[in-house]
Assembly symmetry: C2
Homo-oligomer: 370 residues x 2
C-alpha cells in the first residue's frame, strides 16, 4: 500500500468513525422536496425528483420479493410498506434526462409511472432532473414549428424508412420561402425519435427562433443504425449503408418534398456519440455535401482531416465536462491554429447523456447558416 | 333450476366426462404456429400470436412468485421454466389490436417486449392479432403522406395543445392546392396518438389514395378529454370545453396554417366511442360547421336530431358485429326513410376495439367529400 492509498483509507475510516460516534445511520439525509418528473405519464405522481437530483420511484407490487430502481448503472433497493407499496431513492443524479428501468424479482420492466423513450436499444422509462438552464427547452407560448413524421423510399435497403422533419414556425404559411437544413443523428441504440422526444430539438429551436437567436432552418432526424453494430466495435462500423441512405436517398427526398435551399452552403450535419462518429465519417467521405459539421460527444477532426474541404464554414465539437473536455478543447485549438472556423463547447456538470446534447444543439444552432 | 339451465348443466357434465374418459387434459390443444407480433419492440420475439389468435407472452423473472398476462379483462397464468423464464398463452382473441399488460407479483407493468400505445388512460403494451383484411393498413411501397405533430395555442385552456395532422401525398409539393379536412377523435382514455399509432390512420389513407379509392384530404387528431370524465358518467359529460377548443381554436388554426378548403362542405367530423359521442354533440350544437358526420361505436342520430342541418351531406354510423349492430342498422334505416344520405357499416367478428374503428375509417374515408 502506497502513501496516497493509506491517506485515502485513513480518511474513509475517520468518516465512518464520525458517523458511528455521532449516532448517525449510514443512510444519507434525504432532502424532502420531491416533485413529480415532467416526463411522467399523465396524472402520475411517481417517479419524483428532489433538489439533490435523487430519483424516488414507487410501485405497488404486494407479492414481490424485491423491487429495485435501476438508474445510471446502479440498482437501488426499494422498501415495501404494509400496503404492498414499494418506495425508494437513487443517489443524486446529474441534471437532465436519464434512462431507467424497474427490476421486479429479476424482471427488468418499464416503470408504468413514466413516459417511454427509446434508448439502450429499447423503449423504456426516463426521468428529468431539473437543470438551471431547462428554460432552453421548455414549452413556451411562442410560435411552434411542426415535427413531420415522414416515410421515404429507400432502394438500397428495399423499404420505406422513417424520419422526423422539424419545419420552423412560418414554414406552412410562407409557401415561397426556402430554408437551410440540418441533418441531426441520434446515438448508439437510440433512434429517430430520440432527438424530437428526449432531445427536445423542436422546442429548443422554437425558443431560439422566438428570441431571434437562431436562423429558422429545417432539421431532419432519421434512423442511423442501418447495419448491426456492437458497442465495443463502433470503430469498425461500416458507414457505407447509412451513408447511402442519408446522402443518396434521404437528402434528394427532402430536397424534392420540402422547400429547402438545396446546396452545400445551406446544409449541415451533426450527431451525438455514434451519430457524431457517423457525421465525421460521412463528412470526410463526401466533402462537398455539407458546410457545417457538428460532433457532440462523438470524436474530433484534425486539421489534416479537413484539408480538401472547400466550402466548409464551421466545425463545432462539444462534450460534457464529465467526459473528456481536454480532448475537445485541444482539437478545436488545433483547428483554429490552422485557420479553421472551429468552436468548442463544454457542457458543465454533465456526462455522456442527453442534457449535454440538448445544450450542444442549443449552442450549435445559434452558429448555423450565418 | 329451470329446464334450460338443467340442459346446459347436463351438457357441461357430458363434456367433462368425455374429457376424463378420453384421458384428455383440461388444457386446450394449442396450435404451435406462433409468430412475433408486428407491434413488438425492434428485435423482440415475444409477445407472439398464433393462427387461433392466442397471445403468448414471455419474460425472464427468476425470483417472481407469479407472472400473468392481463388481456381482454382476463389474467392468464404464465409458467416458469428452470431458467427463470415465464411463458404462457391467452385464450383466442378477436382479430386486430388489443391493449394488454403483464402482472408480476401484483405489479401491473408494460411488457418490455411490446411497443407502447396510449389506451386505458396509460401508455401500455399492445398486440396485433392477424386479420384477413390487415392489408388495408399495411406499410406499402406507395407515396406516403406526412403526420405533423403540431402545438396550437388555446386561450380557453391557457396552454399550447398538441394535435397530429395527416397531410396526404402531394401536399408538400403542390403548394397551391387546397384540401378538405376530417376532424377525427379518439375514445375514452385514449389520446391524440391513438389514431395515428394503433389506428394506423395515415397508412389507411396512403393506401386508399394510392388505389384511387379516396379523395386526398387532411386529417386532424387532437386530445378530446379537456375535462375530467368518469367512464360511467360519459352521458353527463360537459362538451363545452372541448367544443370550444375544437371549433373556436383548432379549426381556425388549421385553416390558417394548412392549405384547407375552409368551409362546411369540405369539413367532416368523426370519432370512435367517446369520440363518437363528442362528434354527435358537437355536430348537434354547431350544425353549420361540418357536412359529413361519422359515429364509430359511439351512438346514433335520429331523424329529429338532424332536422335543421342544412348542408349535411353524409351520416355514417358503424360498430363491431360483437357490439349492437341492430341499433346501428335501425338508426340508419330510420334516417334513410326520412331521405338522409345515411350509411351503416358493421365490422364482422370484432367488438369495441380498434380493428372495428380502422375498418370504419377505411369505409368512411371512401365516402368523404364526393
Amino acid at each position: 500500500m502506497n502513501l496516497k492509498m493509506k491517506r485515502i483509507l485513513s480518511g474513509v475510516i475517520l468518516v465512518l468513525l464520525a458517523g458511528i460516534i455521532s449516532g448517525q445511520e449510514s443512510k444519507p439525509q434525504i432532502v424532502e422536496d420531491f416533485k413529480p418528473s415532467p416526463t411522467n405519464q399523465p396524472g402520475r405522481e411517481y417517479p419524483m425528483v428532489n433538489s439533490e437530483g435523487r430519483v424516488r420511484a414507487q410501485i405497488p407490487a404486494p407479492d414481490a420479493n424485491y423491487v429495485q430502481l435501476d438508474i445510471g448503472g446502479v440498482k437501488y433497493d426499494l422498501v415495501k410498506d404494509e400496503n404492498g407499496l414499494w418506495t425508494g431513492e437513487s443517489a443524486p443524479q446529474d441534471v437532465g434526462f436519464h434512462y431507467y428501468q424497474l427490476n421486479i424479482d429479476g424482471a427488468s420492466v418499464p416503470d408504468p409511472g413514466s413516459l417511454l423513450f427509446f434508448g439502450a436499444c429499447r423503449w423504456g422509462s426516463g426521468v428529468e432532473v431539473p437543470a438551471p438552464d431547462q428554460d432552453i427547452f421548455e414549452l413556451k407560448d411562442v410560435p411552434h414549428g411542426h415535427v413531420h413524421e415522414i416515410l421515404f423510399p429507400s432502394k438500397s435497403t428495399n423499404m420505406s424508412r422513417r424520419a422526423f422533419v422539424y419545419t420552423p414556425p412560418g414554414y406552412q404559411q410562407e409557401t415561397s420561402k426556402r430554408y437551410p437544413v440540418l441533418y441531426l443523428q441520434h446515438g448508439y441504440c437510440e433512434n429517430e425519435t430520440s432527438w424530437p422526444s428526449q432531445g427536445r430539438a423542436n422546442l429548443i429551436m422554437d425558443n431560439l427562433i422566438a428570441e431571434g437567436k437562431a436562423k429558422p432552418f429545417i432539421i431532419v432526424m432519421t434512423y442511423g443504425m442501418t447495419n448491426d453494430i456492437k458497442f465495443g466495435e463502433l470503430r469498425k462500423f461500416d458507414i457505407e449503408p447509412f451513408q447511402t441512405v442519408l446522402v443518396d436517398e434521404l437528402i434528394p427526398y427532402i430536397d424534392s418534398n420540402f422547400r429547402t435551399l438545396a446546396n452545400q452552403e445551406n446544409r449541415a450535419m451533426a450527431g451525438l456519440s455514434m451519430g457524431g462518429m457517423e457525421t465525421r465519417q460521412i463528412t470526410l467521405n463526401r466533402p462537398g455535401v455539407f458546410s457545417h459539421y457538428g460532433l457532440f460527444s462523438g470524436g474530433v477532426y484534425s486539421p489534416e482531416d479537413l484539408k480538401e474541404h472547400d466550402g466548409l464554414k464551421l466545425v463545432f465539437i462539444s462534450c460534457g465536462s464529465k467526459e473528456r473536455p481536454g480532448g475537445v478543447k485541444n482539437a478545436v485549438a488545433g483547428l483554429q491554429n490552422e485557420g479553421y472556423n472551429a468552436v468548442s463547447y463544454i457542457s458543465e456538470g454533465t456526462a455522456h447523456e442527453f442534457h449535454t446534447w440538448r445544450r450542444s444543439l442549443y449552442q450549435f444552432a445559434q452558429l448555423l447558416f450565418k
